[in-house]
Amino acid sequence: MKTTIAHLKRGQRALIKEITSDSIPLKLLEMGCLPGNEVELLQTAPFKCPMYLTINGSHLAIRKEIAAQIEVQII
């Protein structure tokens, strides 16, 4: 099974791998969610959705469905 942002635990960091899915919104890429950048999970709302992250220095909240499409490598 692939590891994605949705698998992160609070405080865990990871590196974003290749972005392959077409359904990842361009907006997310434009906000810094690009291959090689670091992401950290800061906080989640109940039931882990939405997820509050820092990506490439930006603070963002995204829904779990989208988080589950972004493959990462935990560091």
Partner: protein
């Protein structure tokens, strides 16, 4: 008139664009709508030296030129169309020094459009705390632009910005990055076909089709009919373009920006740990909601009472100073109370927007969305809908206006449409009098009485209907709406007083001049209908009454006269005309009159009944006794019994019955379609449910 320099302010949300705009224009600004859509359009005039003026347009905040919302679409449609009257002579891109990397993405895109561009790096006051040092010279050279380092909070750097705007003709127009290098063949042939156009502009026009919505190509000055690649192919190219731009930006910042992580301090993490916490986060949020509710429900009642009395006094004084006659009646009984009916909303609107702008300015509103998204999404609402829905419990007018902050048009529309179901304060007088009439004054158990439980039930009913209709509308409404939930969580800031004040003033003005006209017009029409009658009975009312009730005191005669006149006015006849329609709900023509006249505002119902029953005072006890004595001619029993009372309560719970809400919905949705749909839907629902209730219970 000398030519004005046309300036567009562009920038990511939360970069302080509005603060810079406020500093440039002061109170010299106007807020309107873009034609046909509901995006706010802010413009203002800025005085430069030697009598030169600049026309400043504050464009909606956008993350990039690949639009993903109606707001962002406005920006791109303007920048692609040189023929637009607002097309900028110079673009001012506002960025936040803490998020420079992300902010520069938009900058490089604008620059590629070959528009003269100034870069504002705002929030310079925070550089020390964050350990940031900039090399402006290097940045200017690499980005091929002029930079103004600004602190909108400390009011620094604005004069430099004005100077740069003034000499905009000297700015280089050439792009700073050649981002379109990833598909050489494709772009080469594109450029060959349209040798006179900027390549990036062509690319934007082509790719907009896969973005938020197709742009109206007829309005553009170019129409490349180029063989379009497949959608997925285009998307992939857009991704490559973004990566390319970031590579360039990273390179530039390596030379021009140093961040000393050790010097950086921040309270953000600590605050977020509490404010987005699974328990404390909600606890604090509901505390804030309670406070807002208290302000619009309770605190505003003092200024509202004063306004009420003030206008009543004004009517009296005018009446006593001018000679009697129909024209003076129009002023004292039609126009002055009509104006009062507009002004009375100002305290609630001002209070609500005071809170909302503080929540927005401080960065807290994004946390609200984070906390509430999951629950609200199920019903097609936004996390931000919570604030309007709760404010609606005081009054729907400010609540509808508060939906402005919801970026997604569909979620915003649904919120606007369902807010009037929440139990607003104007329903309370109607509820209270009917509850005391028909619900037994007994206790269930030790604490609760049937009466208070009924009231509570009505509150829940209102909220439940709002949420239920939202769920239904979400299924029905076919609005294209590509909204991915990606929301920026800005840092916490102490709100700027000037921004909050301007926002409160703007919103109040928007209500008075936008919805006020309609409210005034309808109140005058209703006044005319209640003050004139179609036949002699109305005109000779005075004689008839004095003859028939010669033995009554002057005061009692006056009450009889008012009641008689209302019965024989246009509204009175209308009430009788609708009696067959409302009879199945358990009402007579007097209640019919009450319903028609309370179309202006629900609370008018009680006053109208007082006049019809000629009790002449709004005292609850007297009206109540009078109503309790009323007999239903058909059944011979009391008119207000359990069945008709419940039916009336339900009718007022669901019916629109508020012209001010209709007027503000018209203003906020920019069309009569939505308020009319709302009126029809709510009236039909109210009628049906009241009918069922009466027929079942009677």
């Amino acid at each position: 008139m000398a030519k004005q320099i046309k300036v567009s302010l562009i920038g990511n949300p939360n970069t302080g664009k509005t603060s810079v705009f406020n500093l440039l224009t002061g109170l010299n600004q106007q807020v309107g709508n873009y034609p046909g859509i509901t995006v706010e359009k802010k413009e203002g005039i800025c005085k430069l030296s030697r009598g030169v003026k600049a026309h400043i347009l504050d464009l909606p905040g956008t993350y990039s030129l690949n639009a993903s919302s109606l707001d962002e679409n406005v920006v791109i449609e303007l920048l692609l169309n040189k023929k637009d009257k607002d097309f900028p002579d110079v673009a001012v891109v506002v960025s936040d020094v803490e998020n420079l990397k992300r902010n520069l993405l938009l900058f490089t895109q604008i620059k590629d459009l070959e528009i003269p561009t100034i870069l504002v790096i705002n929030m310079a006051d925070r550089m020390n705390r964050k350990g940031i040092t900039l090399n402006i010279e290097v940045l200017e050279k690499e980005l091929n632009t002029k930079i103004a380092l600004v602190s909108a909070r400390k009011k620094e750097g604005i004069d430099e910005l004005k100077k740069l705007i003034e000499s905009y003709a000297l700015l280089p127009k050439t792009p700073c990055v050649n981002a379109l290098t990833f598909a050489p063949d494709y772009f080469e042939s594109l450029q060959k076909t349209f040798p006179n156009e900027s390549l990036y502009k062509l690319w934007l026009v082509i790719t907009q089709d896969v973005n938020f919505r197709k742009i109206d190509k007829q309005n553009l000055d170019i129409t490349p009919d180029f063989k379009i690649k497949s959608e997925n192919e285009l998307k992939r190219l857009q991704q490559k373009e973004t990566i390319k731009r970031y590579q360039f930006i990273n390179n530039v910042l390596k030379q021009g920006l140093v961040v000393d992580e050790k010097a950086a301090t921040g309270t953000r993490a600590k605050l977020d740990r509490v404010l987005t916490h699974k328990f404390w986060g909600y606890f604090i949020f509901f505390g804030i909601l309670l406070l807002i509710f208290q302000a619009i429900y309770d605190w505003s009642s003092y200024p509202m009472d004063m306004i009420d009395e003030g206008f009543a006094w004004l009517s009296e004084v005018t009446k006593s100073m001018l000679p009697a006659g129909p024209f003076v009646d129009l002023i004292t009984e039609g126009i002055i109370p009509g104006l009062g009916g507009i002004v009375i909303f100002i305290p609630q609107i001002a209070f609500l927007f005071l809170f909302i702008s503080i929540l927005e300015e401080s960065g807290y509103m994004s946390r609200v969305v984070f906390l509430m998204d999951r629950v609200m999404r199920r019903f097609g609402l936004s996390g931000k809908s919570v604030v309007p829905l709760v404010s609606g419990t005081a009054c729907a007018i400010p609540a509808v206006m508060a939906t402005r902050n919801i970026e997604n048009w569909k979620e915003r529309l649904i919120t606007i449409l369902v807010v009037p179901f929440t139990t607003c304060a104007a329903r309370l007088p109607v509820y209270l009098i009917i509850i005391t009439l028909v619900i037994p004054d007994e206790k269930v158990g030790w604490v609760f009485s049937y009466q208070s439980l009924t009231l509570m039930f009505l509150y829940f009913l209102g909220f439940g209907t709002a949420v239920g209709s939202a769920w239904m509308l979400n299924k029905i409404l076919k609005i294209k709406n590509k909204s991915y939930f990606v929301i920026e969580m800005p840092g916490y800031k102490v709100p700027l007083f000037k921004n909050v004040a301007i926002n409160v003033v703007e919103k109040t003005k928007a209500f008075i001049f936008g919805a006020g006209k309609i409210i005034l017009a309808i109140s005058i029409i209703l006044w005319v209908l209640a003050s004139f009658g179609p036949n002699d009975k109305f005109n000779n009312a005075e004689e008839n009454i004095t003859q028939e009730y010669a033995d009554l005191s002057q005061e009692e005669q006056d009450h009889k006269l008012a009641s008689y006149k209302l019965e024989h006015s246009f509204i009175g006849y209308a009430g009788k005309a609708i009696e067959p329609i409302v009879a199945p709900l358990g009402y007579d023509w007097k209640i019919g009159i009450g319903i028609i006249s309370s179309f202006a505002a629900r609370e008018v119902f009680v006053g109208t009944l007082a006049t019809i029953y000629s009790v002449g005072s709004d005292e609850e006890e007297t009206i109540k006794n009078r109503m309790a004595a009323e007999i239903n001619p058909k059944t011979g029993g009391p008119l207000f019994n359990f069945a008709s009372g419940i039916s009336l309560l339900l009718f007022y719970a669901f019916a629109m019955q508020c012209m001010s809400t209709l007027a503000i919905v018209k203003r906020e949705t920019n069309s009569w379609k939505w308020p009319m749909a709302q009126l029809v839907f709510m009236s039909v629902l109210a009628y049906t449910i009241a009918l069922i209730a009466y027929q079942v219970l009677k």
